[in-house]
Symmetry: C3
Subunit: 202 residues, 3 copies
């Protein structure tokens, strides 16, 4: 179970980093830009949450292997990224990104609950963990954040998944049940939103 | 007196959130974008100050009712905002925004003083509390921050109000006198600047 | 030796602030904008590092004289900046900026090492200290950060200087030797990169 979560986590980090690579290359950045944008996309949400909650050490400080992984991927992104632009690769990234969004959101909510935050703040911390990496990526790339535009539902899926987490905790379910259910709700909703082209009104 | 300040505070938060709504709608954002931009406008300055001073818990974490208020307002902003575009509504928002700027700046200065910061830093923390919500709003909306452009005086009013706070404290006035005077100086200067079209040189 | 470092530090802060002045004036900002952009350029990198490492008090809070210096320079920048645009002034700023980059990077690495961070994180903290002031300057000015674009090597010089610091520490050299060598490596590489027009691939 713990191993499974670690696999999901690694998939999510790689998927988030990939969205950073794609965006940074589109802006014609050099290796430094590609690495920093990918790093911020992958770890920005969790870092902001930890700074707001005053939690230390930060995730990527404790696990420098993840930071090194993103660095190595950035080195490889230059020569290999153009070949990844196939339909299969893009679908894989969408699925991994949805899993990452689900995991990051659920973990963010659970850490805020652990820090005894009030209910609404726990949900906000979950959503922040899930989406703010992408927000910071778009700010660094000088774009209006994708999740604020009327694209297919993204933050809303995270919000509902975090709410499910809080309801299950309130019903005294075990943390494992709440975590898995929350990840599934967020990820499945996100994949449905992409498939069915669901959008929010203005 | 304390009730009066709470009323001013609520007015300020609503006015700041409204400027977030207007900006987010101008960029054609969806509900998620509208909420986050409004939230960041209302609480960004105080949050940055608290992170710089290492104060916890954050204001909106302790008072989740304000975060919920902004969320509810964001839900209502979609259908109701277009009707708010009358001259009366715009004037009301300018006044409430000036009051909010005055209160946030004065409170920021007083909290920095409490944390025993040096004089110049206390003033900077007051100005940061007052204006950085708007700076972050404009960064998220992909604009050069309004307060940096040659618009009618805004940050300068906050700076003078914070300086008045420090002078009155140094003269051993009570905190209540310093707070009220500082709020009045900032707010009145801001309203005069709008009325008389005062601008800074480059 | 300690006096020498303080001189280098002051040079670096002034050079970083100058790059903020130039950018803010190019965007036609008023005095408030010029001051805040210069301040963020000069102290943003170190502040971000301290917030990530949870170090307090912040450098510019402890040394408010530097914040006041930037404020006074911002007041002078309006009338005097246009006269500074000579070739001599521009070369002086490039040299001072290279020294500042070297010093800030080396100090950032050494503080992270003191906080017992892992190796890769120490290097990242050094680079963050050196370059993030400029990144935040460009974000506030609504530009894609200069260090992410394919300009002459900048972050890469800082990265190599920080790596040299770590190697010398690992070889049990004194901190002074590591610091001076690291500053020299970064600064000389940066000046060579400008001279020889070295750039990174995409």
């Amino acid at each position: 179970m713990s191993t499974l979560l670690q696999v999901v986590e690694a998939c999510g980090i790689i998927a988030f980093a990939c969205s950073g690579f794609v965006e940074a290359r589109r802006k014609d950045m050099d290796l430094v830009g590609v690495f920093i944008v990918a790093f911020v996309t992958a770890f920005g949400g969790g870092t902001l949450r930890d700074m707001l909650l005053d939690r230390r050490p930060l995730f990527w400080v404790e696990h420098q292997e993840y930071a090194i992984l993103v660095f190595v991927l950035a080195l490889l992104a230059g020569p290999f990224l153009p070949h990844l632009r196939s339909a299969v690769a893009e679908k894989t990234i969408v699925v991994a990104d949805a899993l990452g969004l689900g995991l990051f959101s659920a973990v963010g909510t659970s850490l805020a609950l652990e820090a005894q935050m009030p209910v609404f703040i726990c949900v906000m911390m979950g959503v922040t963990t899930g989406i703010f990496g992408g927000v910071l990526r778009d700010v660094l790339c000088n774009e209006i954040p994708m999740v604020f535009r009327r694209e297919q539902l993204y933050a809303t899926c995270s919000l509902l998944g975090c709410a499910v987490y809080m309801v299950l905790e309130w019903l005294d379910m075990t943390s494992a049940v709440a975590l898995i259910s929350s990840i599934l709700v967020t990820s499945v909703l996100r994949l449905l939103a992409v498939k069915m082209n669901w959008r929010l009104p203005g």
